[in-house]
């Protein structure tokens, strides 16, 4: 693997329902640090499955994923891998409703045992940079959808991961809020030299990325 390549996906396949449903057929591609990639295709084409396998939320039936030279098949402590190397942004923000925005953003740092003072400072700084400083102590139900999604971006970035995986991050937002979220993700990916993969239906978002990978029925087109 070349030094610049952060992610290498080789012949990746995933089946469900005891092999009756093939969600992903031998998908391969590689990507470098600081790149932005759009995963496009219709609903059910395997975009979310691919992101789950890259982010180690799930394990493949065939093929392999390497992140920064690490073969994920050999990673036993998946939680630690996700906390250190992956930042997820989901379509429906997925904030914990009983945690304030600040506590939600601190959650990935808690997984790494970051001391309280450091957690507080880092989360506050990120929320400030997203224009959410005044909302830090609010519960997710007490802020707008756009603010929730920006907080979710802050949570994804908080441990400075090498991989940013966003699954329809603007799917539930109006166009203005959606643009803000994409700007934040792309901006941080470039400034932190992270690899951003965005699964999207939206052609405008896909056009804003460096590359596009299109899937259809679980296959790369």
């Amino acid at each position: 693997m070349s030094e610049a390549i952060l992610l290498e996906v080789s012949d990746l396949g995933r089946d469900y329902d005891r092999g009756r449903v093939r969600a992903l057929h031998e998908v391969s591609f590689s990507a470098q640090r600081g790149q932005t990639l759009a995963l496009t295709g219709p609903s059910g084409c395997g975009k979310s499955t691919l992101l789950s396998l890259i982010g180690l939320l799930d394990r493949p039936d065939r093929g392999r994923v390497q992140v920064d030279g690490i073969d994920l098949a050999g990673v036993r402590r998946g939680a630690d891998f996700r906390a250190r190397r992956v930042g997820f942004v989901f379509q429906f923000h997925h904030m914990v409703p009983t945690m304030t925005l600040q506590e939600n953003v601190e959650a990935p740092m808690l997984a790494l045992g970051v001391p309280l003072a450091q957690r507080r400072a880092r989360a506050a700084q990120l929320l400030d940079s997203m224009g959410l400083g005044a909302r830090a102590g609010f519960l997710p139900t007490h802020v707008s959808g756009g603010e929730r999604q920006r907080a979710a971006v802050a949570r994804a970035l908080v441990n400075r991961p090498a991989l940013l995986l966003a699954d329809e991050p603007t799917g539930n937002l109006d166009s203005r809020a959606g643009e803000q979220v994409i700007e934040l993700l792309v901006g941080h990916a470039r400034s932190q030299q992270a690899l951003l993969l965005v699964a999207t239906h939206n052609p405008d978002i896909a056009a804003a990325m460096d590359r596009r990978i299109e899937l259809l029925d679980g296959r790369r087109v």
Binding site: A79, F88, T98, A107, L112
Partner: protein, 366 residues
Amino acid sequence: MIFLRNLLRAPLRSLMTVLGIAAGVALFAAVSAITADLRQQIGAAIDAYHYDVVVHERRAPSPFSSRITLAQMQTLVEEHGEALAPMVIGTLNESWSSYALVMGVEPGFANRMALVAGRPMVVERDEAMLGELGAQRLGLQPGALLRLGDKDHLVSGIFRTGSRMFDGGVMIGSRQAQGLFTPAGSEGHFTLALLRTGDRAETARMITEVQRRHPELRAIPATEFAGALRLFRVVDAFVGTIAVVALVGTVLVVTNTLLMAVAERTREIGILMAVGWTPWLVLRMLLAESVLLCLAGAALGNVAGLALLHTVNGMETVGFGWIPVSLSPSMVATSFALTLVIALLALAWPAVVLWRMQPLAALRHE
């Protein structure tokens, strides 16, 4: 704060769980307090008179149901003289108390009682000395009449032993007591005898001596008297059973609450796992909730236990002074420690569920 917010998300369920824990703690604390206190009361009363040995019938299942014949007691008195205090003990169902403790004693014992009012009774007459607690509850002073059996007894004095159980009772002459507790036509008997020895070596020697000379009797150190009472053996077994039932029941209540929390928050747990939380970290959050519920239950349970003791103590059928109206600090500490054990045990099943949980499946959970 997160733990509190999580618990307040289902306030009624949290409240019911706390009440369930409190009920278990209250029951355990109240019953344990009663048995511990009864032991302490009996021990304190015997200790107060500096008697070292208790002699009772060997075949009696419990010292209080012992029957020592008049002839046996006569021999014991001849052998030990002033050091021996024969005693008749029993309970009566009277109009003024349905569980009146009556102690029949000899003049020497009666004259040594510490009185707070009046004078020692004359044992040959129908006179009685009333315990301070009983006198307060009945509102009686020296000079008043107290009905025992079919006779009125003149209250000559009010005594205080320091043991609530005995201070809730009444003392009369041993002959009068034998009359009360012996069916017409039967020979009277004593219940037990207290023996003063002096030191520990003499106590051991005396016990051996009494049992050698009187194979039909058993002599035990006064310190072991409470433990020899069948009542306490039964109560100990009862308390043990209640403790186990309360423990298991409470663990199940808390386990159910935590399992419901895990089921309802599966997607949130999936989110936390997606951002790097291990099952341990999620379990730590649940542990905090479990501990919070259990500590609240323990606090409420101790208050409820105290209320229970006051209520039972006020029941006329129980008898004066038999029920304590306070919980010892060690009892309170034990109940809190026990609930912390419950908080841990209740996590076992939710922990298995968490360890089996797959992050992706949890995230997609509806």
